[in-house]
């Protein structure tokens, strides 16, 4: 179990570090794609381990546990968002926070459809 968890932590730290380095390289004070890089590292490590026959059920359990914990974490996150001040920061915040979302839903629909037909 703990070796799976360690593998996950290794991918996470390596990915975050890559994101930070990329951010510094681009000259901005933000992490660029750290989580995405970490996910790619984990997927690549998994493929490599499977080829070698090192990917065991016990190892996967350490990662699977956190995978399953994901929705509870999202629930806790939602409960600790600053919902009140977001809704009371004025009409513009509410409009500019929702109208582009619907616009993006529409653009998304067109994009997905045009990719399916080609």
């Amino acid at each position: 179990m703990i070796n799976g968890l360690a593998l996950l932590s290794f991918s996470y730290l390596l990915g975050m570090w890559t994101g930070d380095l990329l951010g510094t390289m681009l000259g901005i004070d933000a992490n660029v794609g750290g989580v995405g890089f970490a996910m790619l590292f984990l997927i690549l490590i998994k493929e490599w381990f499977m080829k070698k026959g090192w990917w065991k059920a016990d190892l996967e359990f350490g990662i699977e546990f956190w995978n399953k914990l994901y929705i509870p974490i999202v629930i806790a996150m939602a409960a600790s968002l600053n919902v009140k001040s977001a809704l009371s920061s004025g009409l513009l915040a509410i409009l500019a926070g929702t109208i582009p979302v619907f616009l993006a839903f529409w653009v998304f629909k067109v994009l997905v459809r045009s990719f399916k037909t080609t």
Partner: protein, 252 residues
């Protein structure tokens, strides 16, 4: 009673596990017995959590919703960015590298389109509401991208603190809107495949909103949406205070 308070205070994270577990248990039961499974229990739980976040803000007047009440302060640790990102990375173990590579192009296109659509929408609405200077317009447009891009852009351009606060508010409203409307509209916009989820993550960009929205829609899609959404904030911080600002200034 005093012992109990001290106990809760010392074990915030454990209390948070208990609270989220109880909420999920109740909403799962409600989903099954009352709604006959039409709306997933997790979607109801996330929505209820947002309402609790609002109530917490009213009662405590802080910045972390429910987590500002002493009893619930562990929620901000469990729901903080460290655990959130760690769990998102863990979902990758269930994703297929082949599918991610196959949908890389549509993911990248949607990323660029997404930043453009939200920035333009934010700037347009700010213009309609009477803002005319490039710095404020750009900061509010950046806030419409995510609540991190807004203050980063505003800080870089020297926007006023009210405008920066407004841009954060805009970004948080966006996160909430994406969380609520993704499960409602998913079928109608064709959000059903891993490839579509990758495009969705790039288009919407708010990691929290995409993650919560997809979790309530279909948990299998979460890693695909998250892998592109994670590049959005970084890309937004890159282009909003530079390229987009220069274009805006030129136009005004």
């Amino acid at each position: 009673m005093e012992e109990l308070h001290a106990l809760i205070d010392k074990n915030g994270l454990i209390v948070a596990f208990l609270l989220v577990g109880l909420l999920t248990w109740v909403t799962d039961l409600f989903s099954k017995k009352v709604l006959s499974g039409k709306i997933p229990g997790s979607a109801i739980a996330i929505f209820m959590a947002l309402i609790f976040g609002y109530l917490g803000g009213v009662l405590a007047g802080g910045e972390k919703g429910m987590a500002d009440l002493a009893l619930f302060k562990g929620l901000s640790l469990l729901g903080g960015s460290m655990f959130r990102d760690f769990a998102i990375v863990a979902t990758a173990a269930g994703a297929s590298f082949l599918l991610i590579r196959k949908s890389g192009l549509i993911g990248m296109i949607s990323l660029v389109l997404g930043i453009f659509v939200f920035f333009l929408g934010g700037v347009g609405l700010a213009w309609l509401m009477g803002y005319r200077d490039a710095v404020s317009l750009c900061t509010i447009g950046a806030g419409a991208c995510t609540y991190i891009v807004g203050p980063v852009t505003g800080g870089a351009l020297g926007a006023s603190s009210e405008v920066i606060a407004l841009s954060i508010g805009t970004g948080v409203v966006k996160t909430i809107a994406v969380t609520i409307f993704t499960p409602i509209l998913a079928k109608r916009i064709g959000l059903e495949t891993p490839g579509a989820a990758m495009a969705f993550g790039g288009m919407m960009g708010t990691s929290s909103g995409v993650a919560a929205g997809l979790a309530a829609t279909d948990p299998k899609l979460v890693p695909y949406g998250a892998v592109t959404a994670t590049f959005y904030t970084g890309l937004g911080c890159l282009v909003c205070p530079s390229l987009f600002y220069l274009v805006l200034e030129f136009l005004i």
